[in-house]
């Protein structure tokens, strides 16, 4: 903006501000002129008839009291006091927040305004924000108060609040909700109540079956910082559902047969993206869990394309491209898609290339904005046959023209978990088609293909080696599993999960002696690691060190007193060291925990003969 010459400054702006804000003579003239011009171009627009339907449908979900929107947009007065702002932000498509371009594939609940709607808002402002006839007002939308799906079956509140400072840049905090269920339940919906919705930009729930998150807390219940998390799982339990909250979202209810299994002792981690408001705030989110009696019969899986290793963006590069592609080993239905980059991401695209050569755009986000990231669910599942190649093409801008660039001046940025690092991820929720000929779980084929693909991209991919090893182990291909466990162990020698699994695989291959150092290392890193105690007990027993085994099984039952196998093996260790009385006691305990425990029963019978020879 140029500076107005000094002698004019006192008058001209004075008059023109008057023109814009008060009801003086010249205003009317200005408006009349504008209105005449507008009339020639477009029909009169009134708030009651033309603007309210847009507000009710596309704005009021967030812009109403108690919701995320900074001000309500329900009445004429509400809209009038932000009229020019509404025109500006709809014209730039900053509002309503909807990042994907309009494409062939439709998403559920698209928030995009049509060009006609945007023009109508503009015309309304140009015409002097007329209210119109009260008879034209449509019925006010009805919004549910409180829990959107009624009272949840379980309400879990974060143990401790998080204190968000008044100022500073965006903040990422994780709340650990401890074992909200006491038995296996089927979760059909989860309502995330982040607390003050104006502070929380988005939130994500992760299912932590192994209680990993707790270990990162300094005090129990305090939560922990960090933008991106990796949650490990020892069983084959690939992520299956997007549990995502963004402002204005109504909890998604899974269709019958698609519920998420939630076991006893499973934690839920709420990963939140917070924005300081200008005053100190405390945030203590609540989760509402809704269950169904219908267990899962369909098993979706989250499939990930990524190429963080390609991310090495020179300072100043405006057009850095990252790609990845993956060919589907089975037929799938794509249910939802979630592209993810940080602050340098600019233009994000995903394509599907079908085996017959046709292709379709799965999503295109031409002006990526991390703050409005979302999971996009397709209005209809997108069928992709086996052999379809899904590709991602993400463009990054690391110049100073990108105002979101967290570095000033820009500097080289590589892939990583922090907000100042970058990411190139594309997640798809797919429902694999269960082949009628093959009995095996199609998800295993996907995870295996994914792991192989990741190893091609990066032979040093820790997770790929580990996942592949676990799958091979599950199929009984022990030597191949050992090879990949060894690679994972070489890459991260101190990872207790790998040391334990590697040790278990060696033990399964009859290489007990080699297994001991790995199991011991796992326990050095995590002394209360039940599985590693149990496995080490077995390893020592098979090497004939029954005293050593005894100590491990004793420690194991202290960690988990409900495990029948550990009790039975403790019984055996006592028997081997000659303490038959103790052996009997523990076999009996094992049988109390699991009346069908064959080994405990047989051993107890045999012991009965030895203790009371008849």
């Amino acid at each position: 903006m140029t500076v107005v010459p000094r002698n004019l400054r006192r008058f001209v702006p004075l008059a023109c501000m008057a023109a814009l804000v008060s009801g003086l003579g010249c205003v009317t003239r200005a408006q009349q002129k504008n209105t005449t011009q507008a009339d020639a171009a477009q029909a009169p627009v009134t708030f009651n008839r033309d603007i309210t339907p847009i507000l009710y449908r596309s704005c009021a979900l967030c812009h109403r009291p108690g919701e995320t929107g900074p001000f309500p947009l329900l009445t004429y007065a509400d809209a009038k006091s932000h009229a020019r702002q509404i025109a500006a932000v709809t014209r730039s498509r900053f509002m309503p927040p909807w990042l994907p371009d309009e494409g062939e594939l439709k998403f559920a609940d698209e928030l995009r305004l049509s060009a006609g709607e945007i023009a109508r808002i503009q015309a309304w402002v140009d015409q002097g924000t007329p209210e119109g006839n009260p008879a034209d007002l449509p019925a006010k939308p009805k919004f549910a108060e409180g829990w959107q799906l009624g009272k949840p079956d379980i309400i879990a509140k974060a143990m401790k609040p998080y204190a968000l400072p008044a100022s500073g840049s965006d903040n990422y905090w994780n709340f650990v909700f401890r074992a909200p269920v006491d038995r296996t339940r089927w979760l059909k919906s989860i309502e995330i109540r982040p607390g003050d919705k104006r502070l929380v930009h988005h939130a994500n729930v992760l299912v932590d079956r192994q209680q990993n998150g707790r270990r990162q807390e300094i005090d129990p219940g305090a939560g922990f910082g960090g933008m991106e998390l990796t949650i490990e799982s020892e069983a084959f339990d690939p992520d299956s559902h997007f549990l995502f909250w963004k402002p204005g979202s109504i909890p998604y209810v899974e269709p019958d047969g698609m519920a998420l299994r939630l076991d006893k002792d499973t934690d839920l981690i709420l990963n939140t993206h917070l924005q300081p408001s200008g005053k100190p705030e405390t945030i203590q989110p609540t989760l509402g869990l809704y269950f169904t009696d219908k267990p899962a019969t369909m098993h979706p899986i989250l499939l990930q394309l990524e190429n963080d290793r390609m991310l090495d963006i020179p300072a100043g590069d405006k057009n850095f491209v990252v790609t990845d592609e993956f060919t589907l080993p089975v037929d799938v239905d794509v249910l939802a898609i979630y592209p993810h980059a940080h602050y340098l991401g600019k233009d994000l695209r995903a394509l599907a290339k079908f085996p017959d050569g046709r292709s379709a755009t799965l999503i295109r986000i031409p002006d990526w904005n991390l703050n409005w990231q979302a999971v996009y669910r397709y209005a209809q599942p997108v069928k992709l046959p086996k052999g379809t190649t899904i590709s991602m093409n993400f463009v990054y801008d690391n110049s100073e023209d990108n105002v979101r660039n967290p570095n000033d001046p820009p500097h080289r940025v590589v892939g990583g978990n922090r907000a100042v690092d970058e990411m190139a991820h594309l997640w798809l929720q797919v429902l694999p088609e269960q082949s009628t000929q093959e009995k095996s779980d199609p998800r295993i084929l996907i995870v295996e293909a994914m792991a192989q693909h990741n190893l091609q991209k990066n032979p040093e991919d820790f997770e790929a080696h580990y996942n592949l090893a676990a799958l091979l182990m599950g199929r009984g291909e022990v030597p191949q599993a050992i090879a990949h466990f060894a690679q994972a162990n070489r890459i991260r020698p101190n990872e207790p999960t790998v040391n334990n699994a590697f040790g278990a695989a060696l033990l399964a291959a009859g290489r007990a002696e080699e297994s001991v150092p790995h199991l011991t290392a796992a326990l050095n890193a995590r002394p209360d690691y039940f599985d590693a105690r149990y496995n080490l007990g077995n390893a020592l027993a098979s090497l004939g060190d029954f005293r050593g085994a005894l100590a491990q099984f004793q420690a194991a039952v202290r960690i988990n007193p409900d495990d029948a196998n550990a009790e039975a093996n403790l019984g055996s260790a006592f028997a081997e060291t000659g303490d038959l009385k103790q052996a009997k006691l523990h076999y009996e305990r094992a049988l109390r925990l699991n009346p069908n425990h064959e080994l405990a029963r047989e051993n107890l019978q045999q012991l009965g003969h030895e203790v009371n020879p008849r």
């Binding site: 008059a15 003579g25 006091s81 200008g278 602050y343």
Partner: protein, 198 residues
């Protein structure tokens, strides 16, 4: 410049017709004498006269404007830092915001300097303010030496930096205290339009 300053485009579009038409209108100054800003007790108050030769900084805000609110710590910090040489006032141009609402809001956001109400937009006009948050700096000679954004944290709606890289208000205060000229006397701000208020 053309790519980065998208907000500039809105302003020039909106202002140009108004200027062209209004230059020819006659009664300009008379009403400003009947109108006044008030303190929270409802008494007429002219911050520029009241400052006794100090630099005066006006910060135009609205309680419900999220961008205004995010600036509270920055503005409060500047007011403390320049306590000796500059007097700060918050100016609330929305006549619907009552003294009670303003007091509560200022307490919550940790503001310790005085707030004024400007329901008739006297200070708005004097400062050429268009947006909340926006600032105006008057030097000891009561001349408007700067009006516009506080810093460049926001480039546009939805285009926020991690931290600001230019600090226009801080620079303007220092220049006004030192009596030195500024390279830019006006910048566009991003936030809620004051002209949307009645």
């Amino acid at each position: 410049m053309s790519e980065k300053f998208q907000t500039l485009r809105f302003f020039s579009r909106a202002l140009v017709p108004a200027i062209l038409l209004c230059v020819y209108s006659t009664p300009l100054v008379s009403w400003s004498q009947q109108n006044f800003a008030t303190n929270l007790e409802g008494k007429p108050f002219d911050p520029i006269r009241a400052a006794h030769g100090k630099v005066v900084v006006l910060i135009f805000v609205r309680t419900g404007c999220p961008i205004s609110n995010r600036y509270a710590p920055t503005v409060q910090q500047l007011s403390t830092q320049h306590r000796e040489d500059a007097t700060f006032f918050l100016v609330y141009p929305d006549k619907k915001e009552t003294p009670e609402v303003i007091r509560k809001h200022d307490r919550e956001f940790g503001y310790t300097f005085a707030a004024l109400r400007d329901p008739q937009h006297v200070l708005v006009k004097q400062s050429q303010a268009q947006i909340t948050p926006e600032t105006a700096v008057f030097d000891a000679g009561r001349r408007l030496v700067y009006h516009g954004r506080i810093d460049n944290l926001y480039e546009d709606f939805g285009h926020a930096r991690k931290t600001a890289t230019t600090h226009e208000l801080a620079d303007a205060i220092e220049a006004a205290i030192a009596g030195k000229p500024l390279s830019a006397n006006a910048t566009p701000a991003v936030g809620c339009y004051i002209s949307d208020l009645e």
